[in-house]
Symmetry: C2
Subunit: 145 residues, 2 copies
């Protein structure tokens, strides 16, 4: 005997489910970052800048984030204008600029992390800790990186 439950069409469409879930979590993230004048794309740049020893090049940022380098320019511009990151010239290649967090940026990065965790808690609350680990693992394997 086979039991089939169809809630709605699209429930088996991984593309739809991904974009739907992503939208929910990104929205919650943006709402939380609003108090700091940031949005989720700038947040991810800040995290990489703060957590990468010696800074990260814009090309690397583009690769990790899956963005075009031209988009990274604007994101870094905004973070730099807010005083959260700085562009340092690379010593080995004068074309390359290393994006590193300022002290202020590192503080914002550290302070916001738990707030963001709490914010997405509402969306992910139905999943156990083990299931979230599972989800992290599955999603990591979809992205190239």
């Amino acid at each position: 005997m086979e039991v089939v439950m169809v809630l709605t069409p699209l429930q088996d469409d991984l593309g739809f489910l991904l974009s739907r879930a992503s939208g929910l979590v990104v929205r919650a993230t943006n709402a939380t970052l609003l108090a700091r004048g940031l949005r989720h794309r700038q947040w991810s740049v800040l995290v990489l800048a703060a957590d990468t020893e010696g800074g990260i090049t814009q090309r690397e940022l583009a690769g990790v984030l899956g963005l075009d380098p031209s988009q990274v320019v604007l994101l870094v511009d905004e973070l730099a204008a807010a005083g959260l990151v700085e562009r340092h010239a690379s010593t080995s290649d004068r074309r390359t600029k290393l994006v590193a967090a300022t002290a202020d940026g590192a503080r914002v990065r550290a302070e916001s992390a738990p707030e963001l965790t709490a914010a997405t808690e509402h969306q992910l609350g139905r999943l156990s800790a083990a299931e979230r680990d599972q989800l992290r693992d599955l999603l990591s394997r979809i992205t190239p990186s």
Copy 2:
């Protein structure tokens, strides 16, 4: 003994992983739908219109898709202009419009489904069938619906 592998910061950030994976799959979806003049948002509307017996109201579409009703108007407009869906007046409530697929729309929906599956195959190829089911289950439980 504990083994910790840090590939890059953000790899433990479910918000980032969701938006990154979503971006990849949506991009592949859009590329596939380009031949039909559609994009992923119109596709999801078409699927719901085609698969819901008797049509679906725009309010219901907005709810399932997580969009504002005003955005649904435009998506339905575009699909209607392409001759893929029609708005039918509801018999019980004259405010309500039921969006249903035309014969042409049903054909496009049926023909495109396997193409889209093949297209996302490239992104999801690293996951086994069982893992995809697992992912579907986890993602379904994040969305309210």
